[in-house]
Amino acid sequence: MGAAQQADTGTSGSGAQVSPRPQAGNQVGNPQAGNQPPIPAGESAGVLRNTGVGPEEAVQLLDEHGGTHHDATFSPYIDKLDPDVVRGFYRDMATVRRFDTEATALQRQGELAMWVPVIGQEAAQIGSGSAMKKADYAFPTYREHGVALTRGLDLADLLKLFRGITNGGWDPRETNFHLYTLVLAAQTLHAVGYAMGISRDLVADPTTEPAAVVAYFGDGASSEGDVHESMVFAASYDAPVVFFCQNNNWAISVPFEVQSKVPLVNRAAGYGIPGIRVDGNDVLAVYAVTQWALDHARNGHGPVFIEASTYRVGAHTTADDPTKYRMGAEEELWKTRDPLARLETYLRAENLADDAFFEQVKNDGDELAAHVRRVTLALGGADIRHKFATVYAETHPLVAEELAWFENYEASFADVDTENGQGGAA
């Protein structure tokens, strides 16, 4: 299987051709490349893991030892990067990891109803999110905390949903980062529709700023019919959308093999759209591949499917217990592929960052965590009147009638309180 499923010339920033290539083909500069320790072919929840979904056969520019590899198509996207940007990738990944730890602690302390950890997937999110321009639009699932950071959200806003203060928590129009969607895969269709809307805007007004949409979903969601329909629509209408699948290997307790017998990127060819498999723990490769895909989409060449091979190190949510369904050996293997560790190794080896930098990142992370905690604990209660007010845009007599009833009902308690108070005084 080649990393790129369909040749496409002249659309990438480098002008390079994305062509099929042999397994671990042009990975150079690291003697261990292409000789990855295999994913244990053991049994996991009774399922033989016979279709390894590690970074093998995926675009990789930075391996787990911090070594770099050249790729004719994708390397140009990172060769020109300012060291500040690469340091920024590290900073963002470390920030979201620290944030995640704090959010998990808040859940354990009863301050959040639930939390959805992202640890392990920082590179896939920071890399893809950083590749987006301001006018691009992201449709997340419910785990894209890293992407949220790259879109400029205050991460504390993400916790409002999980604290039960609101179903949203931020204004998507300010950040072009849509609300989290808990119904799996539903947002992939919204993303395609939004992208079709961009195309319509360009037709109506050619001065419209070209933009693309990124639809995030996971390997579990890839089994949902909406993903299929979204790809059919995207392909049919050449919608400027990038499907970004974070294959983290587990759909709660169900391993990847139950979702698909082949790598998900293979499906792209069936829709007639380019598919790229990328090492999702390599922030540089994810950044480069996503930039290529966004350029492809923005330039009017239609959708691209990216499968980012990664791993959910923690639980699906704080209600989950991974020790019941997966093996420690697998988790240990993926720890060796940690996205932060490899970038740190690289930054140090290239003298791009020193102890002071990493110390500063750590301190800044602690400060952010304190901010998030402070903001979360200060969040007031919610008022159901606001829910009455947002069911419909226009007046609806049933909502008005029920709100009036509710206000009377509430007021009746105030009367009782007053009477009791007067009674006490007399």
């Binding site: 609101t166 179903n167 949203g168 204004d171 998507p172 129009r173 849509h178 609300l179 969607t181 119904v183 539903a186 992939t188 269709l189 919204h190 993303a191 395609v192 529709g193 939004y194 992208a195 079709m196 809307g197 961009i198 319509r200 805007d201 037709v203 109506a204 019919g225 909406d226 329909e229 979204s230 059919v232 629509f233 049919s236 606001h386 829910k387 007010a389 947002t390 069911v391 419909y392 845009a393 226009e394 609806h396 007599p397 049933l398 909502v399």
Partner: protein, 324 residues
Amino acid sequence: MSTMTMAKAINEGLRATLSKDPKSFLMGEDIGALGGVYRITEGLQKEFGAHRVMDTPLAESGIIGTALGMALRGHRPICEIQFDGFVFPAFNQITTQLAKIRTRSDGQLSAPVVIRIPYGGGIGSIEHHSESPEALFAHTAGLRIITPSNANDAYWMIQQAVECKDPVIVFEPKRRYWSKGEVDTENSPGDPFKAHVVREGTDATLVAYGPLVPVALAAANAAAEDGHSVEVIDLRSISPIDFDTVEASVNKTGRLVVAHEAPTFGGIGGEIASRISERCFYSLEAPAIRVGGFHMPYPIARVEEHYLPDIDRMLEALERAFAY
């Protein structure tokens, strides 16, 4: 004023919308060159182009989900679901996504998508082509549901649905598509969410909507021959329901019969009966009575005459009400 079929009236209503709102467009299966399986969109693609009248892949969830996305971008999609029984692949997108986007975003976002669904029986078709699922959608807050019973309403309601800032489902009574009526293209009948008293009476109120309004009028005429004066209300809007108009009528007549094609259990008729019982308890001379379909999947065409409320079933219900 001109006379046209309901099908033509909807076609003209869509034409008017496409002409005046450049952001509006139609999407659905077979609506382009074919003009839709019921020819409601006939000629529109030729007139406005494939960009404004879009044939989509055969995927109902895809139609509604992408329409929602396009609406978020400021466009005004008018979706056609080919048949009532085929809306269910899109049920998830309609109920968990479209209906809730406004409240989920604390009022920041809206997706005023219009969904046209031909519904109801009486055309002798096969399974999944004759259903009345309106109560399933009416139960979902965030949606508005209207249903025309005549050509004039059909012409105006589709345009009003597109102008509404909320998602609107227009259930079109397909067995009335070929019924002719007067259409006043100059003067709108007003608020689409208000019921109309279409026949005045003093002894009982008969509420119906969509395909059963002409049946209810015929039943009222038959009742008049027996000396009963029956007021007929065309509900027009299923969500919200104009209870005020029904209440005023029942306070006058003292009796209520509600008729629809959908099964009576858990249906719109039960909702109206319950609310009106609360509001008009001291005016009622008899319990509110429902006339509707049976608790069974829509039956095979050769027996649908026994399933669909007709004049006799409405008269039987009125007789029961008058017996108190």
